[in-house]
């Protein structure tokens, strides 16, 4: 039977390709060691998106008790007793305060500094990432009802750190101010309290509302702990597999071209499609093994939750097929192995940067995003995250799956077409 013959022919090639990989110990080592190793290293590298140990110069040029108290707060001393006391829900406030103190402790690494609090501050030359100055007369300005601003100098070259530090400082100051307010109320003279009680109940309530912090009850969907690692691991796994599949398979046809076995292969009655499929099959098995391994590391080591494993398997399978097709196309197209590797590298570079593996695609301008859609990794990352983070169903990611399947078909057919002659 014709189909059976084809199947036998495909298996003949697949077995041979598998033996090539199996006997090439260096490649085997590369395949088995690098993907899990990279997953661990990249995972840890991107695990903590949180800003930590920012080297911060600090000077308290004011001598007042207020400035000392705020200094203590920044240095994670609990000075917010009035806030807890005055609250209706002391447990919650207690917890929020502890979180804040922990955050402050993690974020800042204080650096003693002496200098002109009003003069220009150079961070780099002082080996610091930030500087906080309490200007002279700050405490007094608060008492006089004309608060002057404190000074924070931040390093904008790191786009992550500066906003995060700024936000934390604002938060600390807001809590500090609230605490001061409560203390003020607590220490109000009795006649003022009596006076207040003469106000209409409405006004009293409005007044007390204005003293209570208004807040959002924020509910974070999809990645409630805001763990960057949950976002980044699918991208990382995809990137590693993209790298491995393309470079592995890209040299298979060109190696045969270089050594001369391609001519030998093409004078046999093997069909081009049989050669292409036969070459893809063993690499498909190897890369499926790898993708399962790397995702398992993500799950076991980094605690990534896996939802809908069946749908994810489909995503992974089509992605690998498309990547292998792409590698094979490069392989059929290149004259030498060196060329094939060069092509792969030049192709992988935009894939790494534009596929949304590490940053959301929506941050890219629309015209660039058109390019992104050409890369299998883009569709993989989107589909994987949709399924795993947004619990999307098949219909939601159908477009991405279709794109991957079409990519696999087109590249495979292209590679087969290029195999019609052994012409150099």
């Amino acid at each position: 039977m014709n189909l059976l013959d084809s199947l036998k022919a495909i298996l003949t090639i697949a077995y041979k390709e598998f033996v090539h990989v199996w006997r090439d110990r260096r490649v085997l080592l590369l395949i088995l060691v690098l993907p899990p190793f990279f997953t661990l290293v990249f995972g840890h590298a991107f695990e903590g998106a949180a800003v930590r140990d920012v080297s911060t110069m600090f000077i308290n040029a004011d001598g007042s008790s207020e400035s000392q108290k705020f200094t203590d707060l920044l240095h994670t001393k609990d000075v917010l007793g009035a806030l807890v006391e005055g609250s209706d829900n002391p447990d919650k406030v207690r917890k929020d305060i502890n979180d804040l103190l922990q955050n402050l402790r993690d974020t800042f690494a204080w650096k003693p500094w002496v200098g002109d609090p009003k003069g220009p501050i150079d961070l780099v030359r002082n080996g610091a990432d930030a500087a906080i100055v309490i200007p002279p007369g700050w405490g007094k300005s608060l008492q006089e009802g004309k608060p002057i601003a404190m000074r924070a100098v931040l390093d904008g070259s790191d786009t992550n750190t500066a906003p995060s530090v700024q936000q934390l400082l604002q938060q600390a100051l807001f809590v500090f101010q609230l605490n001061e307010r409560y203390e003020l109320i607590k220490n109000l003279p009795a006649e003022v309290v009596d006076l207040g009680e003469q106000l209409s109940p409405e006004t009293q309530h409005e007044f007390s509302s204005s003293l209570t912090p208004w807040e959002f009850d924020t509910e974070i969907l999809y990645n409630p702990k805001l763990l960057f690692v949950d976002y980044v691991v699918p991208g990382m796994v995809g990137l590693i597999l993209q790298l491995v599949t393309v470079t592995l398979i890209a040299s298979t046809i060109t190696r045969e071209r270089e050594v001369g076995t391609l001519s030998q292969l093409l004078v046999t009655p093997l069909r081009q499609s049989e050669i292409v499929i036969g070459k893809v099959v063993p690499y498909l098995f190897i890369s499926m093994f790898l993708i399962v391994g790397t995702i398992a590391i993500g799950h076991l080591h980094f605690g990534i939750k896996i939802y809908q494993p069946l749908l994810l398997s489909v995503v992974c399978f089509l992605f690998l097929l498309c990547s292998l097709g792409l590698g094979l196309l490069i392989s059929a197209f290149s004259k030498t192995q060196t060329q094939a590797i060069q092509f792969s590298v030049f192709l992988l570079l935009p894939i790494i940067l534009l596929s949304g593996a590490f940053a959301p695609l929506s941050q890219l301008p629309g015209s660039i995003r058109i390019f992104s859609e050409l890369f299998p990794l883009t569709h993989f990352c989107r589909a994987f995250r949709s399924v795993n983070m947004y619990q999307a169903d098949f219909g939601f990611i159908a477009a991405d799956l279709f794109a991957l399947a079409a990519g696999a078909m087109i590249t495979g057919i292209g590679a087969a077409y290029l195999l019609r002659t052994a012409d150099d």
Partner: protein, 344 residues
């Protein structure tokens, strides 16, 4: 008459005493298996193969001769359907080599110029792979039989990379013959091999022809051309001569003059300048002279030896061999080119 020629033939190739195995020259023209008509291949503006027209009969051992870069490999690759002819047509058993390339692939075997098997696979794995690729049944039996026939038994599980040049070539041939094709293309199968292995490969080729297989072989070893039933000379992509070795040698117009002079090296240089002499080769200490009219030259020299610095020791007549034929054609071509250049 016929037998005598054969003996002379035997004498002229003393390195290989193969008389018994030599296929006898075909008396009647065999049915053509390969037909080329104005076959041409251009790479850019250079013509690698320039309108070759010829045919190769069934059961022949056809030697395709020419210098490196003459177009031998390109012709073979076109015949194997590996590269597309730019003009002309060629057919194998009536099927077009390009249009019907998928249909004729199972009919022939091809051993390419450089070693092109999978060097990380063992001898048997290579054979098994090609047996599978040619969609053969009973792969194990076939492979075992081929291993035995090719004397590859001691290396059956050795990686192809570890084989010596001769055994690699035998393995290449075994892989090309695993499907028992009716036609075998060999591109310089003996290049770079020692005489023992060359002998072994030709022995094997003769064995293959016993079952009626046609052989199309390129070589630039002229002593190997003697072993073919039919020979074609290709030069600058053109077929300049074709015929049996005997016909081609006869075409040279009689025996060649061999003179014995001392010192021989100096004599080669001196005689090459002598008018009427086209070429001088040194063979076993004698000078073999290709001249327009060797008889007249000899008579002239017997009356007066024009080289006082060279000592005359004697002369004899030698039957031309294929190397002489090749030189003559190469030389003729060369002269023709000079004439053309002069005319321009």
């Amino acid at each position: 008459m016929f037998g005598l020629d054969f003996l002379r033939n035997f004498d002229s190739s003393p390195k290989f005493g193969l008389l018994a195995q030599c296929p006898s020259p075909k008396q009647s023209m065999p049915k053509p298996l390969i037909v080329l008509k104005d076959l041409a291949k251009k790479f850019g503006r250079t013509a690698a193969v320039d309108k070759i027209t010829m045919s190769v009969g069934q059961g022949e051992v056809f030697g395709f001769l020419g210098a490196n870069g003459a177009g031998k490999t390109t012709t073979i690759r076109m015949l194997c359907g590996l590269t597309r002819p730019t003009a002309g047509i060629a057919s194998i058993d009536g099927l077009d080599v390009w249009r019907d390339r998928f249909r004729i692939r199972s009919k022939f075997g091809y051993v390419s110029q450089k070693f092109s098997l999978y060097s990380d696979l063992t001898v048997r794995e290579n054979l098994r792979f090609f047996a599978g690729a040619y969609r053969q049944d009973h792969i194990n039996d076939r492979v075992e039989r081929m291993v035995k026939e090719m004397d590859l038994e001691p290396y059956r599980d050795a990686r192809a990379a570890k084989l010596s040049g001769g055994y690699r070539q035998l393995l290449s041939m075994a892989c090309a013959l695993i499907h028992e094709p009716a036609l075998l293309f060999l591109d310089e199968p003996t290049a770079g091999l020692d005489p023992v292995h060359r002998q072994q490969i030709w022995d094997f080729l003769y064995q293959v022809t016993q079952s009626g297989t046609t052989i199309f072989v390129t070589t630039h070893y002229m002593d190997e051309a003697e072993r073919c039933t039919d020979v074609g000379f290709v030069q600058h992509g053109r077929l300049v001569a074709k015929g049996s070795p005997r016909e081609l040698k006869h075409g040279l117009g009689g025996d060649l003059l061999e003179v014995h002079v001392e010192p021989p090296m100096a004599a080669v240089l001196e005689l090459r300048k002598f008018p009427g002499i086209n070429a001088v080769d040194l063979r076993s200490g004698r000078l073999r002279i290709h001249a327009d009219d060797p008889q007249a030259l000899m008579e002239q020299w017997q009356q007066h030896w024009p080289f006082p610095g060279l000592k005359w020791l004697g002369y004899s007549w030698a039957e031309p061999d294929m190397e002489d034929v090749f030189n003559a054609y190469a030389q003729g071509r060369h002269l023709q080119n000079q004439v053309q250049a002069a005319v321009k």
